[in-house]
Symmetry: C7
Subunit: 258 residues, 7 copies
């Protein structure tokens, strides 16, 4: 009887049937396991940065892709078990896949970079940043594209892969810097003292540290450039710089008239 | 008899015939399924951006490609079953395919990028954009090429892969900015007041916010550059800028004469 | 007898002979089918852009390549059937092929790009274009190279892959633009009025829209740049610009003398 | 009996069971060995540069990845032993892996570079460096990104792969260099002597070597540029330069008045 | 006896001998056929562009390469038939080949490009061309390198792959262009008339069309730039331009004196 | 008995045991041979350029890597002999390896370049060089990084792969070159004679050849630039140039006063 | 007995022994043949360009590499014959090889380029060349690096792959070119005549053709630039240019005084 069982067990048809059955079982197990994993991952990842609607879209997309890929693998497997030579199909699919893959390389690169930009919070909506050669306020962070609104109103779409160095100007206090070019004909010392006098009582709500004259910034004995710097609250540096310029100019002009 | 059936079932010729038959059946099933999927996808994707004619062309093209590829795979399969060694053919085809693939890499890249440009609506016909080093109004969005009409009348053809950063100037209000260089010999304060007086009653149908003097933009004490900015409706920024310049100039010129 | 037939059918020598015969039959079928397809494709594709002579050359070339490739594949197949190990030959051929393929990558890229340039009619013989860093009139469109005649008489040969962005200046009306720098010492308003007077009665056979003064284009209060634009027929923009300059200059010069 | 043992030992079912058992044993051995190695490596690598929390995160991550990868390999192995054809699964996984791999190439490159930056201590938190086109003080060193705070307050995020040449300005004493442009009308020798007199008694707490006049740096006989250099403590070079300029200017100005 | 023949025919040793013999026969056939093809191709390709000596060198080289490659393939084949495992040899050869191949990629690229440069006659010895950033007269066209003699006597060696855009200045008539900057203080109209008078009777043996004043080329009302163009024989454009300048200058200078 | 021996020899279990034993023996042989070779190579390579400590570190590292790699290969081999399917493991390892390999490509490139820089002694510690866009004195030569100290005190870390062209300024005598711009108003001949007189008795300990006036270097008739060159000892060129300038200036200034 | 011989011949052990023996014989044959070929090639290639010492070094190196590679191949082969599975070893070696190969790509590229530079004699020791962005006299030509001595004494090491375009300034006569800017206030004709008079009797030992005035090179009517060219012996162009400048200046200066 052992011999018979053996016969039955190892008869080619039985084996084929076994394998097909086996493949179908594996299919249902892997499918339900995989779907659960995807769902769990998405329930965990409810960060504030990405809206809920986008996450659900992504989840649905991933579930679909997973189901289709799994189905094709199992179908291929069963066909292969039934003795159908799938080499050429696979080869053809591989070539097409590679071709698309090369073309879509940028896309994958976008998504990987986008993922890390979100994870490391290099950019947040509302930040004033310089990235990928573009300057402006971040309007939207996508998996493939980041939208930055320039100061002149232009909306810049940047594929994430173009964002390598990120200069985030909204991460702490900024520096206001004014390089004054003073017309010659005055002693350096006098000029410095005048500037110091001009900014003596300078005040601005966004000031973090008071403005300071840090010295002469030019090598030419016949020209005088004096540098004044101050620490200001974020995004207020230009306002402070303009105010500083106005105050100092007014001081010098009054002096001249006097 | 079981033995006989076995014999018959596993006789090489029978097997070969089975496999050929099997391949043909698979061919017809996959073909009709595939064609239906392609058709469904195209019926769904009736977006406004792409004209119907183009979609039908694309559908036809895809159906043809699919039929030919499927036919070749099945033919190869049958030949292989009949004992014909197809290795060299496949190898040759692979080399040629790879060669063309490398050359056509740009093409695939164009189509993938074009697809996302359409999907994310980064560009729409009639938008004023800067993309791929070209400046102008979008005239046509293709799967491979985008046509942009420059302001001097030139028609720019851009392969989509060249479009990475898109600067869309038609997404919201724009800023009008005028940096006035005022000849020296006047107190800064007076100059600012004059400019403010000049733009006091400035009006323009495209204005969104009134123009404002935001301050002095130069570090040189002997030169005065005053910046005026205003928010305007889209594409009206240049007209507003020109109007602003004219109004301020007129004010200064009248003053001088007075 | 069945056993005998079997013997005969599956005897190695018979099998070998069968396969050789089979290969030869396949050879002749594929060859005639392939040749017919190539011929048909060429009879259809009689576009105006490519001359008939070139098409025939290409057809002949393709037929030859096809015949040789097919012959080598069949020969390899038969040798393989006869028990000759062709692995090394294939490997050697593959390496050489890959080496040449890498080197010839540019060539394939040229042909693919050239094909789309012709198909999408981005360039036509006689167009005035800027492409691949070259400016001029298209003289010839080839599968590998495009010939552009520069305005100074130079003939530029561009490999098609170098042509990515195409700026076609022969697709519709063009803009004539004159930025007049007016010597200071005159009210802006007066200057604008003078220019308007000068171009009042300006006429030119190539004008599409009358020239218009669109405003002041400079921020410096002590300098005046007035912009005049007009729409002209294609390729007539320079003539119109020169004519405009002459007319306005004459007007100003007469005024001065007066 | 030997024959029987043989039968039993080499019976397909027994063999399959053996192999599955074997695979499971191997799994547990490799798993515990691998985990121990990872833990040991992390206990050793307690450098000062990387915080403990980050190391623990990394360790956990690595342990997870290792467990999953091992599990999948063993699962594949057992499925394979049970006669399930896993070729297509592997192929599909391979293609997806390759695609992601290409896209994530930058990521791997970041980590490898980051590892060497930490190991060779090219950058340390608090250093003033120029790297990847960015200038500032290192704020944080990550495995993927380095954060550098610019002097104007901007926070620069640099993917480590962008850091190739590192210019570390915090590795030893620096040089203060002043190129004085002296207005013509004076003998070179006199000018040099004046500058030497001016810096005779110059002192600054950050000075390492006294400032020296090293000579004339211009070829034009009608202009005089005199170079003064000094060695200063790190990060004090600008203060010293400014002080030097002030002292020399004062000397010249006093002379003139005298 | 049939059985015996079979035995004899399929005895391993006999088979091995058969295969070796077969390989040797194939060797001699392929060798003589290949050599004849190479020779025929070279007899046909006697173009004027390439010297006979170079062709013979190339032919010899190709024959040698072909013989060696063929010999190695056959030798490998026989060794393989004799049961020698050549996998490692092939693998090693493949790796070395690939390594050299990558390095020699530029070489192949040179030859492919060189071939098309010759075929399309983009460059001919004696042409005045601009190619690969180099300007001069073509001295020699090689399969790998092109030699261009600069006008200052320098000999430029260009690897053909560096030659992408070819600007051939020896393909038809050239344009002579003179942009005259006329000192201000004269009516535009008068200036144009003077220039026209100056070139009225201008003649030069290389002139194809008479020089023409095409108009004013500057926007600044206080400066006058007048453009004169003429068509000249190839390579005579500079001489004509110089002559034109001399004639017009003389006219203006005589006028002044008068 | 022969039959028995055969049985025993070719019994699967015996064979497996044989192979395992064989593998272990091979392991120990290869290990000791390999270790000896590594040690010998390191004893030979005691160059002066690389410190002994670094060599020992490298030797230890290599020995470890060698041992681990060998161990894994043998372990894989034995597992394979025991019927464990290692394909997936190898495939997984291969993909991970490739991924890391791509990322670490720069690392390998650094080491290969570094090896040749040391071997060809292009750079030596203390040399003044320009390499990879950096200027300074070589401080340390590493296998991965080269440290160069800039003249302003900055320490530059250069990954060796960034070092392609090396400009070594410490390989022989240098040239001192002074281009004198002489104010117009003097005959060229007189100027030359004056300069010659000025440098007649010029001496400097670092001079290799006396300074020479080599002629006029400007085409403008109204300006005179005279070039003086001299050969100096290495690194003394700037001192000599400054001295030359001083001497000539003094001469001219004295003349003027006279 | 035939059966016995057969038995003996095809007994696995005998076969294994045969194959090992066979491999060893092949090893000795290939080794001696290969060594002879290498030696012959080197005896032939005694060019003047490469020193004998270097050739011998290279020959030794090649012989060593060849011996080692051959030994490893044979050893692998024998191990394989003895039933040792070498797949993992080969795979590991392949990955390492590939990794190094990618890193060493530049090296191979250097050698290939260097070979062609020597073969085509584009550079020879002592030539004055511009290559790879470096200007100077070739000092040494290596297989990997070329050493060029700059005119300021710097020694430039160029990896050969950086040498693409070679501008060899030592291949024939050179041109001396002087563009004279003549101060305005003189008729063009007079200026030309003066220059012609000045260079009438100009002579220089390195002159190949007498200097010629070729005409006016500027479009501005108020400035005069006259071009003089002459053909000179190699490397004498600068001396001739300086001499020409001196002679013409002297002529003009004398005229003025007169």
């Amino acid at each position: 009887m052992f011999e018979n069982l053996n016969d039955w067990l190892y008869h080619p048809i039985t084996q084929t049937l076994w394998q097909v059955l086996f493949a179908i079982i594996i299919y249902f197990i892997v499918r339900s396991v995989g779907k659960n994993i995807i769902k769990k991952v998405f329930n965990k990842k409810q960060s504030k940065q990405v809206s809920k609607a986008r996450l659900q879209t992504l989840e649905k997309l991933l579930l679909n892709v997973f189901s289709y890929v799994l189905f094709f693998i199992i179908a291929f497997n069963i066909l292969d078990t039934l003795g159908f030579n799938l080499g050429p199909v696979l080869a053809a699919a591989g070539v097409v896949g590679l071709a698309i893959g090369f073309g879509a390389q940028g896309l994958v690169s976008d998504v990987v970079t986008g993922f890390f930009l979100l994870l490391e919070r290099q950019l947040e909506v509302g930040d004033y940043v310089t990235a990928g050669g573009v300057d402006g306020i971040v309007e939207e962070l996508g998996f493939r594209t980041t939208m930055i609104r320039g100061f002149d109103g232009t909306l810049h779409y940047l594929p994430n892969r173009n964002i390598t160095n990120v200069d985030n100007h909204s991460r702490g206090n900024m520096r206001a810097l004014v390089d004054l070019t003073i017309p010659s004909g005055e002693q350096t010392d006098t000029s410095i003292k005048k500037v110091q006098a001009a900014i003596q009582s300078f005040d601005h709500p966004a000031l973090v540290t008071k403005p300071e004259v840090i010295g002469v910034e030019t090598n030419d004995l016949s020209a005088t450039v004096i540098r004044v710097i101050a620490k200001t609250e974020n995004m207020q540096q230009w306002a402070v710089e303009r105010e500083l310029r106005k105050v100092i100019r007014a001081y010098f002009e009054t002096e001249e008239d006097a």
